[in-house]
């Protein structure tokens, strides 16, 4: 297991470097003066523009520029956002919590409900429940999450008036402690459900297929024949073996949940990275855009790494391959 972990870590490092270099190439080869991409389209003081030009050595050959770019990243310098008048690093750390709350809630929700629905559908293979779940999964996978967000607003906020439709907290709320927490949870319901439906559909589909395959295998028949309890057959014998593809889908889709979050946050004015992305595109605030790209890609590399490690822990064949 230890060599497996080390090998995976060694693979992740060049990948991270590749991500950083791609980001650098994007800045370097974008049309116009590269300094615009480091400073943004917002009118910045001439002095600062000169300072950035010197810091990143923009008059130097490309390898030198790459080196100074890496150097700046190493000390956590992601640039300064003149549109927001704060360092980009600070801007992102302010927003990252809201996005993590939304995406992790959605991912947890869709994983638990998706696995549950998939198992139920597989057990009832070709019976009404299975057909309904499969059809629902197909439709759920086709609905754009941002439109679903708008539909939820129409239904639950405008129509029924049950839930709030904008923001993460009630406006002018001064609540603290439990009251604040429940206020946030209240605001979280609609965006989290809107974001989770597509992954819920996907996870249901994958779990169902994996479980159908496993449930028809010989050792399940053996387990049943020796009189094992149906629940233990499902949970211990079957699900553990069906877990590999499901874990892959959940882990490898974190990136897509992040992307979906960008759209859903925009619909609900959720104060996260996605909303920041939307605003920064409007303001042509390039340093923020490239920083988001970098951060999201690195998050995906790390999520893939964790997925691989869980895979190796679940399945000895993976770690000894």
């Amino acid at each position: 297991m230890l060599t497996y972990i080390l090998r995976r870590l060694l693979l992740a490092i060049p990948l991270m470097l590749a991500v950083v270099i791609c980001n650098f190439l994007l800045i370097t080869f974008a049309p116009g003066d590269p300094v615009t991409l480091l400073v943004g389209d917002y009118p910045a003081p001439e002095e600062y523009v000169r300072q950035v030009r010197a810091e990143y050595g923009l008059d130097q050959p490309i390898p030198v520029r790459l080196a100074s770019y890496l150097g700046q990243l190493a000390v956590g310098n992601l640039g300064y956002s003149f549109a927001n008048r704060v360092p980009v690093f600070q801007l992102i750390t302010q927003r990252v919590g809201a996005t993590l709350l939304l995406t992790l809630t959605a991912l947890t929700l869709s994983s638990i409900v998706g696995v549950l629905l998939g198992v139920i559908a597989a057990r009832q293979h070709n019976k009404p429940i299975d057909l309904v779940a499969s059809a629902g999964a197909l439709i759920g996978y086709a609905i754009p999450e941002f439109w679903l967000g708008q539909l939820f607003i129409l239904l639950f906020a405008v129509g029924l008036g049950w839930l709030p439709s904008q923001g993460m907290r009630s406006s002018r709320s001064v609540a603290t402690g439990w009251a604040d927490l429940s206020d946030v949870a209240w605001h979280l319901v609609l965006p989290a459900f809107a974001l989770s439906l597509r992954y819920l559909a996907l996870i249901t589909r994958i779990t169902r297929v994996a479980m159908i395959e496993v449930l028809s295998s010989d050792y399940i028949r053996t387990a049943r024949a020796k009189g094992a309890h149906e629940r233990s057959v499902l949970l211990i014998h079957a699900l553990r073996n069906a877990a590999a593809p499901v874990v892959t889908v959940i882990g490898y889709n974190l990136g897509f949940v992040l992307a979906g979050s960008a759209l859903v946050e925009t619909v609900y004015s959720w104060p996260g990275i996605g909303r920041l992305l939307f605003e920064s595109i409007g303001k042509r605030d390039y340093p923020v855009l490239t920083a988001i790209l970098l951060m999201v890609s690195l998050t995906v590399v790390i999520a893939n790494l964790i997925t691989d490690l869980v895979q190796g822990w679940l399945d000895p064949r993976v770690r000894n391959a």
């Binding site: 994007l26 086709a142 754009p144 708008q150 925009t266 992305l277 490239t290």
Partner: protein, 270 residues
């Protein structure tokens, strides 16, 4: 083809796709109004004057939905076609050659597949500028991986098949073997994957337009949803119909892909 009409999933979804294709081609004939022409009748509910209501500038929602099918289908079809061409080339060469080339391309493909395409596409379009053509290129460049991986795994299997062995013994060149013996045998899976890619490309285009990154000269469903957002409390129809259109088209292409898969490999689905 006969099998296609017998498969209800493939046939039903094909009819929906044909309906939207017809809509896109005949948009000027079908649309009751000019989709760009505003008027004083803003935010009218569906009914008498406007079948699906009017938007905040008094434009007819139905006409916009009809014209919007053009942007969605054009981007979906062209991006998926280009992505399939790239994926087919990369996948077949990678699978046939094997070795380090295969190793590296598959690592790259795997990694690109897990990156959030929407965020990537949004930032690239924001930095390099929009326009239909650039959007298609960006979506295609971010969407070839699944095809490449599917093709590669099939080529690996075919490479050792008897008829490929025979062609090699007869002295056929590597390129000839790829072109005449291997590629025709993987086309079925390429077409299935392409259908799913069309659906993904249409969703991606919808998201980009929703972010205001679509082609400003065209009506697009995502763009309509963007404009509906501030009026969501007053005019549900502005959001409801374009979103419904995206969902129907995406669902149809996904189902079509599934159906084709059943038609092409009947043994697996008895």
């Amino acid at each position: 083809m006969r099998n296609l009409t017998k498969n209800p999933r493939a046939f039903g979804s094909f009819m929906v796709i044909a309906f939207f294709l017809l809509m896109a081609f005949a948009a000027p004939l079908l649309a009751p109004f000019d989709p760009f022409l505003g008027g004083s009748n803003s935010l009218q509910p569906p009914g008498s004057g406007f079948l699906l209501g009017s938007d905040h500038l008094g434009r007819d929602v139905l006409s916009q939905v009809i014209y919007g099918s053009r942007a969605s289908l054009l981007v979906g079809l062209l991006a998926a076609f280009s992505a399939s061409a790239i994926g087919l080339s990369v996948g077949s060469v990678s699978g046939y050659l094997g070795g380090w080339f295969d190793n590296i391309t598959m690592r790259v493909a795997e990694f690109f597949q897990t990156l959030p395409r929407f965020v990537l596409a949004a930032i690239i379009v924001a930095v390099f500028g929009g326009g239909l053509f650039k959007i298609i290129i960006v979506i295609a460049l971010l969407g070839w991986m699944q095809t490449a991986r599917v093709v590669r795994s099939q080529v690996l299997r075919l490479r050792d098949a008897a008829f490929v062995e025979a062609a090699t013994q007869l002295g056929a060149s590597q390129f000839r073997i790829l072109r005449t013996h291997i590629v025709p045998n993987v086309m079925a899976s390429v077409i299935v994957t392409a259908s799913l890619d069309i659906a993904a490309a249409i969703l991606l285009e919808g998201g980009l337009s929703f972010f205001g990154l679509g082609d400003a000269n065209l009506v697009s469903w995502g763009g309509m949803l963007n404009q509906a957002q501030p009026y969501i409390r007053q005019a549900w129809w502005m959001a409801f119909f374009p979103g419904m259109a995206i969902t129907l088209v995406v669902l149809a292409f996904n189902l079509f892909g599934d159906g084709l898969n059943e038609v092409f490999s009947p043994r697996k689905h008895d």
